[in-house]
């Protein structure tokens, strides 16, 4: 087949990129070589639009054992124990085939963790969809959500990893482009860490796991293009997952690693056999020669092009020490898995692919893995998507507003979703779904690990830089509220088409905001994922960076996130916060009650935020408070309602001596605030003062109701059951109604 400009374009390579390939090879590529370049140089694999900016992120601290560039970041948590964690997106596949798209998203990130030698012990997911009750698109959006949730549930539950938390958000911009970002975390000892390096010339290159089929060919390039009407034809590009196979692969890999015969190992994720071979070679500065005739195949008649580009799931590539292969084969045989030598490590730095002895591709590993084009794409200032000033907000029914907020898609209970996930398997879940952050104990040490996943597309659309900083602050605040010290970050940058300067501007601002906040909060970035071209028919998603931060804490039962008994003092650490009408435009109140978006995100004083977090960590760890709950979306009123939904059905009677207008006092989303209940208010105030932080006593816990007043009037009073109903019924109701109609 001739390589015409059309063929080059069909591989989503530009003419200039094709010229670069010719320079690197010193000749025209074969079709197989072109396919190999096209996946390795795709946005998904090469980060070509963002690499120059990602360099700005802080990546080091005394806890970091492995920063970006490996399959996952690694953090030291003491006692000789480390954790590996990372986030990955599977946005495009989940739109085309929600169940398999989400399931294989889970599978892919789990392999990233156990390929490093760590046993996965927790998963979280951040998922975003179009509105579920929209008359036009609701049907499809519900179908996508149900598919995604059952895909995650199917894969994670069967594999045996608990799904301990996450977020689920709705916006019309995700209508034709849902987001599925999956985070996984694993644990191991320092001496059990493995890397994806093909070291030792002459060592055998071994293929293990599932057989190779035609599924997922060009998945990585698909994830690097916008959706069009033709996308619906791309269904064969989506891979099919088998969590049982993955579970066997996990156990076999961990057991094989213990033999001491494995030199390096990497999963075959995006770009399958291509990325695993050239990346392992490139990291070690070696070459790899394989012969495709030895690759276990599920279908007959596959071409070298198809075998190299297949994204069949549940496969790994490993390099064993020559002479000790048998120990590896024995383990895989025990688990009933294929393990076949397909090649050998060479000294020449080349990826040499043979088929029945005939060379079909020969490319320097570095050209593929490290010399992918890097673009300094032009960017403007981010476009302002909404006016600075919004409608006049004057509520006539604050209680009615709270009920609407509690029963809205973003703020309602997500129990309907998380009960479909096994969140307890492995018996480590100290705090699961429903807490501000998940806490998982580490059996290997006396420590626990906390984790939180957050995003906010509305804030980021108004100001990507400040919006991203607010997300980092929120994530760290969630961790601090369960008593954990935040130590490291992973991130998933979900944006539109980077070739548009206004979208590129969002990306740059967001990355710079992330860099700045991660420096201040001392949470270096150890890895992550970039998902671009999230557009359908020219409409981009809201800029949606999703941040996952992990923290450490001594193993102990956390304090409750809900009120536990009557008669305790309720305090607001951090004070009432500042807000104004412009800063109100990105809130849930603006979205749900005013059906609008305007203004700027809430102001953030990172130094103050840090001191608030320090304060709450002390209060929680020393158990000076019996309840701690972070104020987030929906502001104070929503936080108080949520804190009242515990099994004890204890609410609060609060008096807000604030100058803010009532709507702002109840619903503004200014950061740096945490609600606590305590029998020792003086102790709380003292601890706050030490950190230069305000702690206001705003009321007491009471049985059965929530009442919020100003000094001269009652703003709202409601029974807890009245508040609980819309909150708990929205999601089941939406799906119930769909069945009936």
């Amino acid at each position: 087949m001739n390589i015409t400009p059309e063929v080059v374009a069909a591989h989503q390579l530009t003419a200039a990129e094709y010229q670069r390939i010719i320079e690197l090879l010193g000749r025209e590529p074969t079709l197989t070589e072109l396919g190999i370049f096209s996946v390795m140089w795709s946005e998904h694999c090469s980060y070509k639009s963002t690499r120059v900016h990602l360099k700005k992120l802080p990546t080091d601290s005394r806890y970091v054992l492995q920063g970006p560039g490996e399959n996952a970041g690694i953090i030291d948590i003491g006692d000789g124990v480390a954790i590996a964690f990372k986030i990955e997106s599977h946005n495009h596949p989940s739109f085309i085939e929600p169940f398999q798209g989400a399931a294989t998203g889970v599978g892919g990130i789990l392999r990233d963790i156990f390929t490093m030698g760590a046993r996965p012990i927790a998963v979280m997911d951040s998922i975003r969809f179009g509105p579920l009750d929209d008359p036009k698109t609701g049907d499809r959006n519900r179908h996508i959500l149900e598919g995604v949730v059952s895909g995650i549930s199917h894969y994670g539950n069967c594999f045996g990893v608990p799904t301990v938390g996450g977020e689920c958000v709705f916006d019309t911009s995700y209508d034709g482009n849902p987001l599925v970002n999956v985070f996984a975390l694993g644990v191991f000892r320092h001496d059990e860490i493995f890397y994806g390096k093909a070291t030792g010339v002459g060592n055998p290159v071994i293929y293990v796991g599932a057989k190779t089929g035609r599924d997922g060919i060009h998945g990585a390039s698909m994830a690097s293009a916008e959706f069009t009407e033709e996308s619906k034809q791309k269904r064969p590009n989506v891979q099919v997952g088998d969590p049982f196979m993955e579970k066997l692969l996990l156990e076999a890999c961990l057991e094989a690693m213990k033999t001491g015969a494995i030199v390096g190992i990497q999963d075959m994720g995006a770009a399958g056999l291509t990325s695993s071979t050239c990346e392992m070679g490139s990291r070690a500065g070696t070459g790899i020669e394989i012969d495709l005739q030895y690759v276990p195949q599920r279908e007959t008649g596959m071409t070298p092009y198809e075998i190299m580009l297949s994204e069949s799931q549940e496969r790994m590539l490993l390099v064993a020490e020559k002479g000790r292969e048998q120990a590896v084969y024995d383990v895989f045989k025990k688990w009933g898995l294929d393990a076949v030598q397909i090649g050998v490590v060479t000294p020449d730095g080349l990826l040499r692919i043979k088929n029945h002895g005939e060379v079909v591709a020969e490319i320097p590993n570095r050209a593929l893995a490290d010399e992918a084009p890097k673009y300094q794409r032009p960017f403007t200032k981010p476009l302002r998507p909404a006016p600075l000033d919004g409608p006049t907000v004057r509520s006539s029914d604050l209680k009615g507003d709270l009920l609407k907020l509690l029963g809205s898609a973003d703020l309602c209970s997500k129990r309907w979703i998380w009960e479909q996930y096994d969140h307890q398997v492995r018996t480590n879940t100290v705090a699961g779904p429903g807490y501000d952050a998940a806490v998982v104990r580490i059996k290997e040490s006396g420590t626990s690990v906390a984790m939180s996943l957050d995003g906010n597309g509305r804030y980021c659309s108004l100001d990507p830089r400040l919006g991203t900083k607010l997300i980092v602050a929120e994530c760290c605040r969630n961790l601090s509220t369960v008593g954990a010290l935040p130590i490291a970050t992973t991130n998933n940058l979900n944006f539109g088409n980077p070739e548009r300067p206004e979208i590129m501007a969002q990306i740059v601002e967001s990355i710079e905001g992330l860099a700045e906040a991660c420096r201040v909060f001392e949470v270096p970035v150890t890895g992550g994922n970039v998902s671009l071209y999230n557009e359908t028919l020219g409409t981009p998603i809201l800029p949606t960076p999703v941040v996952g931060i992990v923290g450490v804490l001594p193993t102990a039962l956390p304090v409750s996130s809900s009120f536990t008994e009557e008669g305790l003092s309720v305090l607001l650490i951090g004070g009432f916060g500042n807000s104004d009408w412009q800063q109100f435009g990105g809130t849930q109140y603006a979205k749900v009650i005013e059906n609008s978006l305007w203004g700027v995100p809430p102001a953030l004083d990172m130094d103050y935020e840090k001191r608030v977090q320090e304060t709450v960590r002390t209060l929680v760890r020393e158990r000076i408070v019996s309840t701690a709950h972070d104020l987030g979306e929906g502001g104070l009123a929503v936080a108080v309602a949520e804190a009242s939904f515990g099994p004890a059905r204890i609410g609060a009677d609060l008096e807000l001596d604030s100058n803010l207008p009532s709507e702002l006092a109840l619903f503004h989303e200014g950061p740096s605030r945490i609600l606590v209940a305590t029998g020792d208010p003086e102790g709380v105030i003292l601890a706050a003062r030490k950190n230069g932080v305000e702690a206001l006593k705003i009321g007491v816990t009471v049985s059965g109701i929530v009442r919020i007043s100003k000094p001269d009037s009652v703003l709202m009073e409601a029974s807890i059951s009245e508040l609980f109903e819309p909150w708990s019924e929205y999601l089941p109701g939406v799906f119930q109604a769909a069945v009936i109609s």
Partner: protein, 231 residues
């Protein structure tokens, strides 16, 4: 005193059961690989939760053919205590060690939730530390936990006091709210809820400990007194 935890390919609560016995009860526990046709020297057997052989075909349907199940059958026939949890319960019904079957939840979705359960019979050594009517809070986590059986079998189970645990708030549509049953000889218990997930005050409470602890007195399962006094 050793508890054997069977490991099928796809078992994923095997480590949890092992940990509960060793860590919470200070007992000795060991894993038994599925292709072993002997249990070795064990005093009680756990068939753990998970997705044995991927639960392809039907839950537990392939596991019943594994070599270890022959050994488990012989062990049970000789009066040894066997506890099947979740997928283990499904395997026991498929293998014919317990009657009835477990099918798709009535809600058609996987459900993971801590539920109240009533101890509805104390006619076996599994409940030696419990009282009739006592309420335990244990987690369930399954997609196919709806217990069904024909009328004659149900009648037999009920009249012989072999329904050990019942849901207070049925999460899966099980007939008669059945959450756990024993065999006629009362040495094989199958239950969908997970006692090993409620064996530590730090995670899930300790309501599951009484049932696990019962396995550490295997002699109680051989006691003719118990069998006589409750039939």
């Amino acid at each position: 005193m050793t508890v054997g935890v069977v490991v099928f390919p796809g078992s994923n609560c095997d480590h949890d059961a092992h940990f509960a016995f060793r860590n919470s009860l200070g007992a000795d526990a060991k894993f038994i690989w599925h292709d072993s046709d002997s249990l070795g020297d064990v005093d009680a057997v756990i068939l753990p939760g998970g997705f044995s052989y991927g639960d392809y075909l039907r839950t537990g349907a392939i596991a019943k053919f594994s070599p270890v199940m022959g050994a488990v059958k012989r062990f049970a026939e000789n009066g040894g205590p066997v506890l099947g949890i979740c997928n283990g319960f499904q395997v026991l019904t498929e293998a014919g060690l317990l009657p009835g079957a477990l099918v798709r939840n009535a809600g058609l979705k996987f459900v993971c939730r801590t539920v109240p359960l009533e101890v509805s019979s104390t006619s076996s050594a599994f409940t030696q530390g419990l009282e009739k009517g006592q309420v335990l809070r244990l987690p369930v986590a399954h997609g196919e936990g709806c217990y069904i059986a024909d009328a004659a079998t149900l009648n037999e189970l009920e009249s012989e006091g072999r329904v050990v645990l019942r849901y207070r708030d049925n999460p899966n549509g099980s007939v008669n709210d059945i959450a756990g049953i024993v065999n006629r000889e009362r040495n094989v218990l199958g239950m969908m809820p997970h006692p090993e997930r409620a064996a530590d005050p730090l995670v899930g409470g300790t309501d599951g400990l009484a049932i696990l602890r019962a396995l550490l007195s295997p002699e109680a399962f051989h006691s003719p007194l118990l069998a006589v006094s409750h039939t």
